[in-house]
Amino acid sequence: MTIFLQQLVNGLSLGSIFALVALGYTMVYGIIKLINFAHGDIYMVGAYIGYFVITGLHLGVVPAIIIAMAACALLGVVIEKIAYKPLRHASRITSLITAIGVSLFLEYTMQYFMGAGVRTMPDDVLLEGVLQIGGVSITYTQLMIFVIAVLLMLLLQFIVKKTKIGKAMRAVSTDPDAAQLMGINVNATISYTFAIGSALAGAAGVLVGLYYNSISPLMGMTPGLKAFIAAVFGGIGIIPGAMMGGVSIGVLETLVAGYGGSLYKDAVVYVILILILLIKPSGLLGKNEKEKV
Protein backbone atom coordinates (compact mmCIF):
# COMPACT_ATOMS: atom_id res chain seq x y z
CA MET A 1 0.00 0.00 0.00
CA THR A 2 2.83 2.40 0.89
CA ILE A 3 4.51 1.60 -2.42
CA PHE A 4 1.29 2.28 -4.21
CA LEU A 5 0.78 5.62 -2.47
CA GLN A 6 4.40 6.56 -3.07
CA GLN A 7 4.10 5.82 -6.77
CA LEU A 8 0.85 7.73 -6.82
CA VAL A 9 2.62 10.78 -5.42
CA ASN A 10 5.43 10.45 -7.95
CA GLY A 11 2.86 9.97 -10.68
CA LEU A 12 0.90 13.04 -9.66
CA SER A 13 3.89 15.35 -9.94
CA LEU A 14 5.00 13.84 -13.26
CA GLY A 15 1.41 13.81 -14.47
CA SER A 16 0.87 17.47 -13.67
CA ILE A 17 3.80 18.27 -15.97
CA PHE A 18 2.27 16.12 -18.72
CA ALA A 19 -1.01 17.92 -18.11
CA LEU A 20 0.61 21.33 -18.67
CA VAL A 21 2.02 20.18 -22.01
CA ALA A 22 -1.19 18.39 -22.95
CA LEU A 23 -3.14 21.62 -22.40
CA GLY A 24 -1.19 23.34 -25.16
CA TYR A 25 -1.83 20.46 -27.55
CA THR A 26 -5.50 20.42 -26.80
CA MET A 27 -5.98 24.17 -27.09
CA VAL A 28 -4.21 24.33 -30.45
CA TYR A 29 -6.06 21.29 -31.74
CA GLY A 30 -9.35 22.68 -30.50
CA ILE A 31 -8.89 25.92 -32.37
CA ILE A 32 -7.20 25.03 -35.68
CA LYS A 33 -7.43 21.20 -35.73
CA LEU A 34 -3.67 20.83 -35.98
CA ILE A 35 -1.59 18.26 -34.11
CA ASN A 36 1.20 20.63 -33.23
CA PHE A 37 4.14 18.24 -33.17
CA ALA A 38 6.47 21.13 -32.38
CA HIS A 39 4.81 21.59 -29.00
CA GLY A 40 7.12 19.12 -27.28
CA ASP A 41 10.07 21.10 -28.55
CA ILE A 42 8.71 24.38 -27.25
CA TYR A 43 8.75 22.64 -23.90
CA MET A 44 12.40 21.78 -24.54
CA VAL A 45 13.18 25.42 -25.38
CA GLY A 46 11.44 26.42 -22.16
CA ALA A 47 13.70 24.10 -20.21
CA TYR A 48 16.82 25.65 -21.79
CA ILE A 49 15.63 29.19 -21.10
CA GLY A 50 14.95 28.22 -17.50
CA TYR A 51 18.43 26.73 -17.31
CA PHE A 52 20.10 29.90 -18.53
CA VAL A 53 18.04 32.15 -16.31
CA ILE A 54 18.98 30.06 -13.28
CA THR A 55 22.66 29.49 -14.09
CA GLY A 56 23.40 32.68 -16.05
CA LEU A 57 21.31 35.32 -14.32
CA HIS A 58 21.28 33.58 -10.93
CA LEU A 59 17.60 34.12 -10.47
CA GLY A 60 15.22 31.87 -8.58
CA VAL A 61 12.77 29.31 -9.84
CA VAL A 62 9.75 31.58 -10.10
CA PRO A 63 11.44 34.26 -12.25
CA ALA A 64 12.89 31.46 -14.38
CA ILE A 65 9.43 30.07 -15.00
CA ILE A 66 7.98 33.50 -15.78
CA ILE A 67 10.78 34.39 -18.23
CA ALA A 68 10.57 30.96 -19.89
CA MET A 69 6.82 31.32 -20.24
CA ALA A 70 7.13 34.74 -21.84
CA ALA A 71 9.84 33.61 -24.26
CA CYS A 72 7.95 30.45 -25.22
CA ALA A 73 4.75 32.40 -25.76
CA LEU A 74 6.62 34.63 -28.19
CA LEU A 75 8.20 31.61 -29.89
CA GLY A 76 4.80 29.93 -30.25
CA VAL A 77 3.30 33.01 -31.88
CA VAL A 78 6.24 33.40 -34.27
CA ILE A 79 6.02 29.74 -35.30
CA GLU A 80 2.30 30.08 -35.88
CA LYS A 81 2.73 33.19 -38.03
CA ILE A 82 5.57 31.78 -40.16
CA ALA A 83 4.76 28.11 -40.52
CA TYR A 84 1.10 27.44 -39.83
CA LYS A 85 -0.77 30.57 -40.88
CA PRO A 86 -0.07 30.20 -44.62
CA LEU A 87 -1.42 26.66 -44.43
CA ARG A 88 -4.64 27.33 -42.62
CA HIS A 89 -6.73 26.25 -45.60
CA ALA A 90 -4.43 23.51 -46.85
CA SER A 91 -5.09 19.87 -46.08
CA ARG A 92 -4.46 18.82 -42.51
CA ILE A 93 -1.72 16.40 -43.43
CA THR A 94 0.24 19.27 -45.01
CA SER A 95 0.13 21.28 -41.80
CA LEU A 96 1.08 18.17 -39.87
CA ILE A 97 4.22 17.70 -41.98
CA THR A 98 5.03 21.38 -41.46
CA ALA A 99 4.66 20.89 -37.72
CA ILE A 100 7.08 17.98 -37.89
CA GLY A 101 9.46 20.22 -39.87
CA VAL A 102 9.24 22.90 -37.18
CA SER A 103 9.85 20.28 -34.53
CA LEU A 104 13.02 19.03 -36.27
CA PHE A 105 14.14 22.62 -36.78
CA LEU A 106 13.86 23.49 -33.09
CA GLU A 107 15.57 20.28 -32.00
CA TYR A 108 18.54 20.53 -34.29
CA THR A 109 18.98 24.28 -34.04
CA MET A 110 19.19 23.86 -30.30
CA GLN A 111 21.61 20.98 -30.77
CA TYR A 112 23.74 23.08 -33.11
CA PHE A 113 24.09 25.96 -30.70
CA MET A 114 24.00 24.16 -27.38
CA GLY A 115 25.60 20.82 -28.23
CA ALA A 116 23.94 17.45 -28.13
CA GLY A 117 25.04 16.69 -24.59
CA VAL A 118 22.89 16.60 -21.50
CA ARG A 119 23.14 19.60 -19.20
CA THR A 120 22.52 19.40 -15.51
CA MET A 121 20.14 21.79 -13.88
CA PRO A 122 21.55 23.19 -10.64
CA ASP A 123 19.49 21.90 -7.75
CA ASP A 124 20.58 24.47 -5.18
CA VAL A 125 17.79 26.80 -6.21
CA LEU A 126 15.26 24.41 -4.75
CA LEU A 127 14.16 24.00 -1.20
CA GLU A 128 15.82 20.90 0.10
CA GLY A 129 13.71 18.60 2.15
CA VAL A 130 11.24 15.81 2.24
CA LEU A 131 7.77 15.71 3.68
CA GLN A 132 6.95 12.42 5.41
CA ILE A 133 3.32 11.44 5.60
CA GLY A 134 2.72 7.94 6.91
CA GLY A 135 5.67 6.32 5.16
CA VAL A 136 5.12 8.22 1.94
CA SER A 137 7.81 10.75 1.20
CA ILE A 138 7.08 13.83 -0.84
CA THR A 139 10.02 15.99 -1.80
CA TYR A 140 9.57 19.74 -1.77
CA THR A 141 10.39 19.71 -5.48
CA GLN A 142 7.46 17.42 -6.17
CA LEU A 143 5.22 19.55 -4.03
CA MET A 144 6.38 22.71 -5.77
CA ILE A 145 5.82 21.20 -9.22
CA PHE A 146 2.36 20.12 -8.25
CA VAL A 147 1.41 23.48 -6.74
CA ILE A 148 2.77 25.51 -9.65
CA ALA A 149 1.05 23.25 -12.17
CA VAL A 150 -2.27 23.52 -10.37
CA LEU A 151 -1.94 27.30 -10.09
CA LEU A 152 -1.23 27.59 -13.82
CA MET A 153 -4.19 25.37 -14.64
CA LEU A 154 -6.49 27.47 -12.45
CA LEU A 155 -5.17 30.59 -14.17
CA LEU A 156 -5.90 28.99 -17.53
CA GLN A 157 -9.42 28.09 -16.46
CA PHE A 158 -9.91 31.68 -15.39
CA ILE A 159 -8.65 33.03 -18.72
CA VAL A 160 -10.77 30.64 -20.77
CA LYS A 161 -13.97 30.99 -18.77
CA LYS A 162 -13.98 34.56 -17.51
CA THR A 163 -12.10 36.82 -19.88
CA LYS A 164 -12.95 38.23 -23.26
CA ILE A 165 -10.00 36.46 -24.90
CA GLY A 166 -11.18 33.16 -23.47
CA LYS A 167 -14.66 33.74 -24.77
CA ALA A 168 -13.24 34.50 -28.22
CA MET A 169 -11.16 31.33 -28.06
CA ARG A 170 -14.17 29.20 -27.25
CA ALA A 171 -16.16 30.87 -30.02
CA VAL A 172 -13.46 30.31 -32.64
CA SER A 173 -13.02 26.68 -31.66
CA THR A 174 -16.75 26.09 -32.00
CA ASP A 175 -17.12 27.74 -35.38
CA PRO A 176 -14.43 30.02 -36.83
CA ASP A 177 -16.64 31.42 -39.59
CA ALA A 178 -19.51 32.29 -37.29
CA ALA A 179 -17.05 33.80 -34.83
CA GLN A 180 -15.62 35.99 -37.55
CA LEU A 181 -19.09 37.15 -38.55
CA MET A 182 -19.67 38.17 -34.93
CA GLY A 183 -16.67 40.48 -35.17
CA ILE A 184 -14.10 38.31 -33.46
CA ASN A 185 -10.57 38.74 -34.78
CA VAL A 186 -9.87 35.09 -35.59
CA ASN A 187 -6.17 35.56 -36.35
CA ALA A 188 -5.52 37.37 -33.10
CA THR A 189 -7.43 34.71 -31.19
CA ILE A 190 -5.37 31.93 -32.74
CA SER A 191 -2.20 33.82 -31.83
CA TYR A 192 -3.38 34.15 -28.23
CA THR A 193 -4.09 30.44 -28.13
CA PHE A 194 -0.60 29.61 -29.34
CA ALA A 195 0.88 32.08 -26.87
CA ILE A 196 -0.97 30.63 -23.90
CA GLY A 197 -0.37 27.00 -24.89
CA SER A 198 3.32 27.60 -25.52
CA ALA A 199 3.70 29.49 -22.25
CA LEU A 200 2.31 26.50 -20.38
CA ALA A 201 4.73 24.22 -22.23
CA GLY A 202 7.60 26.55 -21.30
CA ALA A 203 6.64 26.36 -17.63
CA ALA A 204 6.43 22.57 -17.89
CA GLY A 205 9.91 22.52 -19.43
CA VAL A 206 11.44 24.39 -16.50
CA LEU A 207 9.62 22.17 -14.02
CA VAL A 208 10.69 18.95 -15.70
CA GLY A 209 14.27 20.21 -15.85
CA LEU A 210 14.15 20.73 -12.09
CA TYR A 211 12.48 17.38 -11.54
CA TYR A 212 14.94 15.26 -13.50
CA ASN A 213 17.92 17.62 -13.12
CA SER A 214 18.87 17.21 -16.76
CA ILE A 215 17.92 18.76 -20.08
CA SER A 216 18.89 17.88 -23.65
CA PRO A 217 17.85 19.06 -27.14
CA LEU A 218 15.85 15.90 -27.81
CA MET A 219 14.10 15.81 -24.46
CA GLY A 220 10.83 17.03 -25.98
CA MET A 221 10.13 14.13 -28.30
CA THR A 222 8.82 11.40 -26.02
CA PRO A 223 7.06 13.62 -23.47
CA GLY A 224 5.57 15.50 -26.42
CA LEU A 225 4.04 12.33 -27.80
CA LYS A 226 2.89 11.28 -24.35
CA ALA A 227 1.33 14.64 -23.62
CA PHE A 228 -0.46 14.37 -26.91
CA ILE A 229 -1.72 10.93 -25.95
CA ALA A 230 -2.85 12.46 -22.69
CA ALA A 231 -4.80 15.09 -24.62
CA VAL A 232 -6.47 12.39 -26.73
CA PHE A 233 -7.10 10.32 -23.63
CA GLY A 234 -9.13 13.09 -22.02
CA GLY A 235 -10.80 14.15 -25.24
CA ILE A 236 -8.82 16.40 -27.52
CA GLY A 237 -9.97 19.99 -27.64
CA ILE A 238 -11.40 19.77 -24.12
CA ILE A 239 -9.37 21.61 -21.49
CA PRO A 240 -10.37 19.67 -18.34
CA GLY A 241 -9.88 16.50 -20.38
CA ALA A 242 -6.24 17.36 -21.01
CA MET A 243 -5.63 17.94 -17.30
CA MET A 244 -7.25 14.65 -16.41
CA GLY A 245 -5.48 12.81 -19.23
CA GLY A 246 -2.09 14.21 -18.29
CA VAL A 247 -2.40 13.23 -14.66
CA SER A 248 -3.78 9.78 -15.57
CA ILE A 249 -0.94 9.04 -17.99
CA GLY A 250 1.67 10.22 -15.49
CA VAL A 251 0.21 8.11 -12.67
CA LEU A 252 -0.21 5.09 -14.93
CA GLU A 253 3.34 5.30 -16.16
CA THR A 254 4.92 5.57 -12.72
CA LEU A 255 2.70 2.75 -11.42
CA VAL A 256 3.76 0.42 -14.24
CA ALA A 257 7.40 1.39 -13.77
CA GLY A 258 7.09 1.09 -10.00
CA TYR A 259 5.78 -2.45 -10.22
CA GLY A 260 8.72 -3.65 -12.28
CA GLY A 261 7.46 -3.14 -15.81
CA SER A 262 9.69 -0.23 -16.74
CA LEU A 263 10.57 -1.83 -20.09
CA TYR A 264 6.91 -1.93 -20.93
CA LYS A 265 5.84 1.42 -19.49
CA ASP A 266 5.78 3.13 -22.88
CA ALA A 267 3.93 0.21 -24.43
CA VAL A 268 1.29 0.40 -21.69
CA VAL A 269 0.70 4.06 -22.46
CA TYR A 270 0.19 3.26 -26.15
CA VAL A 271 -2.04 0.27 -25.45
CA ILE A 272 -4.25 2.43 -23.24
CA LEU A 273 -4.36 5.02 -25.99
CA ILE A 274 -5.45 2.43 -28.53
CA LEU A 275 -8.10 1.04 -26.21
CA ILE A 276 -9.47 4.51 -25.52
CA LEU A 277 -9.57 5.29 -29.21
CA LEU A 278 -11.39 2.05 -29.98
CA ILE A 279 -13.90 2.24 -27.17
CA LYS A 280 -14.49 5.97 -27.05
CA PRO A 281 -12.68 7.72 -29.89
CA SER A 282 -13.66 11.17 -28.70
CA GLY A 283 -11.82 10.62 -25.40
CA LEU A 284 -13.05 10.25 -21.86
CA LEU A 285 -14.78 13.62 -21.66
CA GLY A 286 -15.51 13.97 -25.35
CA LYS A 287 -18.96 14.05 -26.83
CA ASN A 288 -19.79 11.76 -29.70
CA GLU A 289 -20.58 13.91 -32.66
CA LYS A 290 -22.99 12.65 -35.22
CA GLU A 291 -21.76 12.92 -38.74
CA LYS A 292 -23.69 15.20 -41.04
CA VAL A 293 -23.70 15.03 -44.78
Binding site: I35, I97, T98, V102, F228, I274, L277
Partner: protein, 318 residues
Amino acid sequence: MKNWFTKNNIRWAVFTVLVYALFQYLISVNIINSYYQVVLYNIGINIVLALGLNLIIGYSGQFSLGHAGFMAIGAYCAGLVMLKVDGTVGFLAGIGFGIVMTALIALIIAIPTLRLRGDYLAIATLGFSEVIRIAITNMDDITGGAAGLNNIPKITNFNWIFGVIVISLVLIVNFARSSHGRATASVREDEIAAESMGVNTTKYKTLAFVIGACLASVGGALYAGNFYTLTPGIFGFMKSVDILVIVVFGGMGSLSGSIVAAFLLGLINMFLNDYAELRMIIYSVLIIVIMVYRPNGLFGNKELNINAIFKRKGGKRS
Protein backbone atom coordinates in the same frame (compact mmCIF):
# COMPACT_ATOMS: atom_id res chain seq x y z
CA MET B 1 -8.58 -11.82 -73.93
CA LYS B 2 -7.14 -8.58 -72.64
CA ASN B 3 -4.57 -6.96 -74.83
CA TRP B 4 -1.39 -6.52 -72.81
CA PHE B 5 0.53 -4.93 -75.66
CA THR B 6 -1.05 -1.51 -75.84
CA LYS B 7 1.08 1.36 -77.00
CA ASN B 8 1.15 2.75 -73.48
CA ASN B 9 2.28 -0.50 -71.88
CA ILE B 10 5.02 -1.03 -74.44
CA ARG B 11 6.29 2.48 -73.97
CA TRP B 12 6.45 2.02 -70.23
CA ALA B 13 8.19 -1.33 -70.62
CA VAL B 14 10.79 0.20 -72.94
CA PHE B 15 11.19 3.12 -70.56
CA THR B 16 11.69 0.76 -67.60
CA VAL B 17 14.33 -1.24 -69.49
CA LEU B 18 16.09 1.97 -70.49
CA VAL B 19 16.17 3.25 -66.92
CA TYR B 20 17.46 -0.10 -65.73
CA ALA B 21 20.14 -0.17 -68.43
CA LEU B 22 21.16 3.40 -67.63
CA PHE B 23 21.68 2.66 -63.96
CA GLN B 24 23.48 -0.62 -64.66
CA TYR B 25 25.76 1.18 -67.10
CA LEU B 26 26.50 3.95 -64.61
CA ILE B 27 27.28 1.35 -61.96
CA SER B 28 29.49 -0.71 -64.27
CA VAL B 29 31.61 2.27 -65.35
CA ASN B 30 31.85 3.31 -61.71
CA ILE B 31 30.20 6.70 -62.12
CA ILE B 32 27.85 5.43 -59.43
CA ASN B 33 30.65 4.23 -57.17
CA SER B 34 30.21 2.24 -54.00
CA TYR B 35 29.38 5.36 -51.97
CA TYR B 36 26.70 6.47 -54.41
CA GLN B 37 25.41 2.90 -54.51
CA VAL B 38 24.70 3.03 -50.79
CA VAL B 39 22.76 6.24 -51.36
CA LEU B 40 20.98 4.71 -54.37
CA TYR B 41 19.95 1.59 -52.45
CA ASN B 42 18.63 3.73 -49.64
CA ILE B 43 16.60 5.78 -52.08
CA GLY B 44 15.28 2.57 -53.66
CA ILE B 45 14.19 1.13 -50.34
CA ASN B 46 12.54 4.44 -49.47
CA ILE B 47 10.70 4.32 -52.79
CA VAL B 48 9.25 0.90 -51.98
CA LEU B 49 8.15 2.12 -48.55
CA ALA B 50 6.73 5.35 -49.94
CA LEU B 51 4.75 3.51 -52.62
CA GLY B 52 3.12 1.39 -49.92
CA LEU B 53 2.29 4.41 -47.80
CA ASN B 54 1.03 6.28 -50.84
CA LEU B 55 -1.44 3.48 -51.48
CA ILE B 56 -2.79 3.91 -47.94
CA ILE B 57 -2.75 7.73 -47.77
CA GLY B 58 -3.07 8.80 -51.39
CA TYR B 59 -5.42 6.15 -52.75
CA SER B 60 -7.63 5.17 -49.83
CA GLY B 61 -7.28 8.46 -47.98
CA GLN B 62 -6.48 6.82 -44.64
CA PHE B 63 -3.87 8.62 -42.63
CA SER B 64 -1.28 6.20 -41.24
CA LEU B 65 1.65 7.21 -39.05
CA GLY B 66 2.72 3.64 -38.38
CA HIS B 67 4.55 2.60 -41.50
CA ALA B 68 7.81 1.95 -39.65
CA GLY B 69 6.08 -0.71 -37.57
CA PHE B 70 5.25 -2.82 -40.61
CA MET B 71 8.69 -2.20 -42.00
CA ALA B 72 10.11 -3.53 -38.73
CA ILE B 73 8.06 -6.71 -38.96
CA GLY B 74 9.21 -7.32 -42.52
CA ALA B 75 12.83 -6.56 -41.70
CA TYR B 76 12.96 -8.80 -38.64
CA CYS B 77 11.11 -11.69 -40.30
CA ALA B 78 13.45 -11.54 -43.29
CA GLY B 79 16.50 -11.13 -41.07
CA LEU B 80 15.60 -14.15 -38.93
CA VAL B 81 14.96 -16.38 -41.94
CA MET B 82 18.15 -15.19 -43.66
CA LEU B 83 20.21 -16.10 -40.62
CA LYS B 84 18.90 -19.67 -40.89
CA VAL B 85 18.72 -20.17 -44.66
CA ASP B 86 21.49 -18.95 -46.93
CA GLY B 87 21.41 -17.16 -50.23
CA THR B 88 18.59 -16.16 -52.53
CA VAL B 89 16.29 -18.89 -51.27
CA GLY B 90 16.59 -17.54 -47.75
CA PHE B 91 15.95 -13.98 -48.93
CA LEU B 92 12.85 -14.96 -50.89
CA ALA B 93 11.58 -17.10 -48.01
CA GLY B 94 12.28 -14.21 -45.65
CA ILE B 95 10.35 -11.75 -47.81
CA GLY B 96 7.47 -14.23 -48.04
CA PHE B 97 7.45 -14.88 -44.31
CA GLY B 98 7.53 -11.13 -43.68
CA ILE B 99 4.60 -10.53 -46.01
CA VAL B 100 2.50 -13.23 -44.34
CA MET B 101 3.23 -11.98 -40.83
CA THR B 102 2.70 -8.35 -41.78
CA ALA B 103 -0.55 -9.12 -43.57
CA LEU B 104 -1.85 -10.94 -40.48
CA ILE B 105 -0.81 -8.21 -38.07
CA ALA B 106 -2.00 -5.43 -40.39
CA LEU B 107 -5.36 -7.17 -40.64
CA ILE B 108 -5.63 -7.48 -36.87
CA ILE B 109 -4.76 -3.78 -36.54
CA ALA B 110 -6.92 -2.63 -39.45
CA ILE B 111 -10.23 -4.18 -38.48
CA PRO B 112 -10.71 -2.21 -35.27
CA THR B 113 -8.71 0.94 -36.10
CA LEU B 114 -10.00 1.72 -39.56
CA ARG B 115 -13.31 2.69 -38.01
CA LEU B 116 -11.47 5.76 -36.81
CA ARG B 117 -11.01 8.78 -38.98
CA GLY B 118 -8.35 11.32 -39.80
CA ASP B 119 -6.15 12.33 -36.92
CA TYR B 120 -7.48 9.63 -34.61
CA LEU B 121 -6.52 6.92 -37.09
CA ALA B 122 -3.08 8.51 -37.42
CA ILE B 123 -2.56 8.40 -33.67
CA ALA B 124 -3.82 4.83 -33.36
CA THR B 125 -1.46 3.63 -36.09
CA LEU B 126 1.36 5.55 -34.42
CA GLY B 127 0.49 3.78 -31.18
CA PHE B 128 0.49 0.36 -32.82
CA SER B 129 3.80 0.94 -34.51
CA GLU B 130 5.36 1.96 -31.20
CA VAL B 131 3.90 -1.14 -29.55
CA ILE B 132 5.44 -3.30 -32.29
CA ARG B 133 8.81 -1.64 -31.76
CA ILE B 134 8.69 -2.04 -27.99
CA ALA B 135 7.57 -5.67 -28.37
CA ILE B 136 10.54 -6.35 -30.65
CA THR B 137 12.87 -4.69 -28.15
CA ASN B 138 11.55 -6.88 -25.36
CA MET B 139 11.57 -10.22 -27.21
CA ASP B 140 15.26 -10.74 -26.44
CA ASP B 141 15.29 -14.47 -27.21
CA ILE B 142 14.08 -14.09 -30.76
CA THR B 143 15.08 -10.62 -31.87
CA GLY B 144 18.20 -9.97 -29.82
CA GLY B 145 16.50 -7.16 -27.91
CA ALA B 146 17.95 -3.66 -28.06
CA ALA B 147 21.26 -4.98 -29.45
CA GLY B 148 19.40 -6.34 -32.46
CA LEU B 149 20.25 -8.94 -35.09
CA ASN B 150 23.76 -9.11 -36.47
CA ASN B 151 25.62 -10.70 -39.39
CA ILE B 152 22.63 -10.80 -41.70
CA PRO B 153 24.01 -11.77 -45.14
CA LYS B 154 24.00 -8.93 -47.65
CA ILE B 155 21.87 -9.98 -50.58
CA THR B 156 20.04 -6.81 -51.55
CA ASN B 157 21.52 -5.33 -54.72
CA PHE B 158 20.37 -3.04 -57.48
CA ASN B 159 18.53 -5.82 -59.34
CA TRP B 160 16.49 -6.78 -56.29
CA ILE B 161 15.54 -3.20 -55.48
CA PHE B 162 14.71 -2.31 -59.06
CA GLY B 163 12.69 -5.50 -59.47
CA VAL B 164 10.70 -4.89 -56.30
CA ILE B 165 9.97 -1.29 -57.31
CA VAL B 166 8.71 -2.35 -60.74
CA ILE B 167 6.57 -5.15 -59.31
CA SER B 168 5.13 -2.80 -56.67
CA LEU B 169 4.29 -0.20 -59.30
CA VAL B 170 2.59 -2.71 -61.58
CA LEU B 171 0.67 -4.07 -58.61
CA ILE B 172 -0.48 -0.67 -57.33
CA VAL B 173 -1.39 0.66 -60.76
CA ASN B 174 -3.38 -2.44 -61.58
CA PHE B 175 -5.08 -2.30 -58.21
CA ALA B 176 -5.92 1.38 -58.67
CA ARG B 177 -7.44 0.78 -62.11
CA SER B 178 -9.47 -2.26 -61.11
CA SER B 179 -13.00 -2.01 -59.77
CA HIS B 180 -11.48 -2.45 -56.31
CA GLY B 181 -9.28 0.54 -56.94
CA ARG B 182 -12.20 2.68 -58.06
CA ALA B 183 -14.13 1.66 -54.96
CA THR B 184 -11.10 2.59 -52.83
CA ALA B 185 -10.84 5.98 -54.53
CA SER B 186 -14.53 6.58 -53.88
CA VAL B 187 -13.90 6.02 -50.16
CA ARG B 188 -11.15 8.62 -50.32
CA GLU B 189 -13.29 11.17 -52.10
CA ASP B 190 -16.36 10.87 -49.89
CA GLU B 191 -16.83 8.03 -47.48
CA ILE B 192 -20.50 8.69 -46.78
CA ALA B 193 -21.39 8.99 -50.46
CA ALA B 194 -19.44 5.81 -51.24
CA GLU B 195 -21.21 3.94 -48.49
CA SER B 196 -24.62 5.07 -49.68
CA MET B 197 -23.76 3.80 -53.16
CA GLY B 198 -23.24 0.37 -51.71
CA VAL B 199 -19.45 0.35 -51.48
CA ASN B 200 -18.25 -1.75 -48.56
CA THR B 201 -15.98 1.00 -47.23
CA THR B 202 -14.41 -1.03 -44.42
CA LYS B 203 -13.42 -3.78 -46.85
CA TYR B 204 -11.66 -1.44 -49.26
CA LYS B 205 -9.95 0.57 -46.56
CA THR B 206 -8.67 -2.66 -45.04
CA LEU B 207 -7.56 -3.98 -48.42
CA ALA B 208 -5.53 -0.87 -49.21
CA PHE B 209 -4.11 -0.78 -45.70
CA VAL B 210 -2.98 -4.42 -45.80
CA ILE B 211 -1.42 -4.14 -49.27
CA GLY B 212 0.39 -0.97 -48.22
CA ALA B 213 1.63 -2.67 -45.06
CA CYS B 214 2.90 -5.64 -47.08
CA LEU B 215 4.88 -3.32 -49.34
CA ALA B 216 6.39 -1.76 -46.21
CA SER B 217 7.32 -5.25 -45.11
CA VAL B 218 9.09 -5.95 -48.41
CA GLY B 219 10.90 -2.62 -48.03
CA GLY B 220 11.93 -3.74 -44.56
CA ALA B 221 13.21 -7.05 -45.95
CA LEU B 222 15.31 -5.20 -48.53
CA TYR B 223 16.63 -3.07 -45.70
CA ALA B 224 17.54 -6.18 -43.68
CA GLY B 225 19.39 -7.63 -46.67
CA ASN B 226 21.31 -4.41 -47.17
CA PHE B 227 22.69 -3.30 -43.82
CA TYR B 228 23.93 -6.47 -42.04
CA THR B 229 22.39 -5.42 -38.73
CA LEU B 230 18.92 -4.60 -37.43
CA THR B 231 18.12 -2.75 -34.24
CA PRO B 232 14.66 -1.74 -33.03
CA GLY B 233 15.80 1.87 -32.78
CA ILE B 234 15.79 2.20 -36.59
CA PHE B 235 12.06 1.71 -36.76
CA GLY B 236 10.99 4.53 -34.49
CA PHE B 237 8.52 7.31 -35.10
CA MET B 238 11.06 9.26 -37.14
CA LYS B 239 11.24 6.51 -39.76
CA SER B 240 7.48 6.73 -40.30
CA VAL B 241 7.89 10.48 -40.57
CA ASP B 242 10.66 10.17 -43.17
CA ILE B 243 8.42 8.07 -45.39
CA LEU B 244 5.45 10.35 -44.81
CA VAL B 245 7.53 13.36 -45.82
CA ILE B 246 8.42 11.62 -49.10
CA VAL B 247 4.79 10.84 -49.86
CA VAL B 248 3.47 14.30 -49.03
CA PHE B 249 6.39 16.05 -50.71
CA GLY B 250 5.85 14.06 -53.92
CA GLY B 251 2.12 14.56 -53.80
CA MET B 252 -0.42 12.26 -52.23
CA GLY B 253 -1.81 9.87 -54.80
CA SER B 254 1.05 10.39 -57.24
CA LEU B 255 3.34 7.38 -57.60
CA SER B 256 5.77 9.17 -59.88
CA GLY B 257 5.73 12.02 -57.37
CA SER B 258 6.81 9.63 -54.61
CA ILE B 259 9.67 8.33 -56.75
CA VAL B 260 10.90 11.80 -57.68
CA ALA B 261 10.54 12.99 -54.09
CA ALA B 262 12.48 10.00 -52.76
CA PHE B 263 15.28 10.79 -55.21
CA LEU B 264 15.33 14.50 -54.44
CA LEU B 265 15.24 14.07 -50.67
CA GLY B 266 17.83 11.29 -50.84
CA LEU B 267 20.16 13.48 -52.91
CA ILE B 268 19.57 16.51 -50.67
CA ASN B 269 20.48 14.37 -47.71
CA MET B 270 23.59 13.13 -49.46
CA PHE B 271 24.83 16.62 -50.29
CA LEU B 272 24.03 17.84 -46.81
CA ASN B 273 26.18 15.07 -45.36
CA ASP B 274 29.15 17.38 -45.80
CA TYR B 275 27.59 19.78 -43.34
CA ALA B 276 26.88 17.16 -40.70
CA GLU B 277 25.82 19.54 -37.98
CA LEU B 278 23.72 21.77 -40.17
CA ARG B 279 22.18 18.88 -42.12
CA MET B 280 19.01 18.44 -40.10
CA ILE B 281 18.48 22.20 -39.74
CA ILE B 282 18.61 22.72 -43.51
CA TYR B 283 16.49 19.61 -44.07
CA SER B 284 13.79 20.81 -41.69
CA VAL B 285 13.76 24.31 -43.17
CA LEU B 286 13.39 22.74 -46.62
CA ILE B 287 10.42 20.70 -45.43
CA ILE B 288 8.73 23.80 -44.02
CA VAL B 289 9.43 25.91 -47.12
CA ILE B 290 8.25 23.19 -49.51
CA MET B 291 5.06 22.64 -47.54
CA VAL B 292 4.29 26.36 -47.27
CA TYR B 293 4.86 27.04 -50.97
CA ARG B 294 3.64 23.74 -52.44
CA PRO B 295 1.04 22.41 -50.01
CA ASN B 296 -0.05 19.72 -52.47
CA GLY B 297 3.43 18.39 -53.07
CA LEU B 298 5.48 18.45 -56.23
CA PHE B 299 3.05 16.56 -58.45
CA GLY B 300 -0.25 17.12 -56.69
CA ASN B 301 -2.23 14.01 -57.46
CA LYS B 302 -1.06 13.90 -61.07
CA GLU B 303 1.23 11.34 -62.60
CA LEU B 304 4.04 11.71 -65.05
CA ASN B 305 2.58 10.94 -68.45
CA ILE B 306 4.96 8.94 -70.59
CA ASN B 307 3.13 9.68 -73.80
CA ALA B 308 3.44 13.41 -73.24
CA ILE B 309 7.04 13.44 -72.05
CA PHE B 310 8.64 10.40 -73.53
CA LYS B 311 12.20 10.79 -72.48
CA ARG B 312 12.11 12.17 -68.96
CA LYS B 313 12.94 10.26 -65.82
CA GLY B 314 9.92 9.69 -63.70
CA GLY B 315 7.41 7.21 -62.46
CA LYS B 316 5.67 4.38 -64.17
CA ARG B 317 2.46 4.72 -66.07
CA SER B 318 0.24 7.70 -66.37
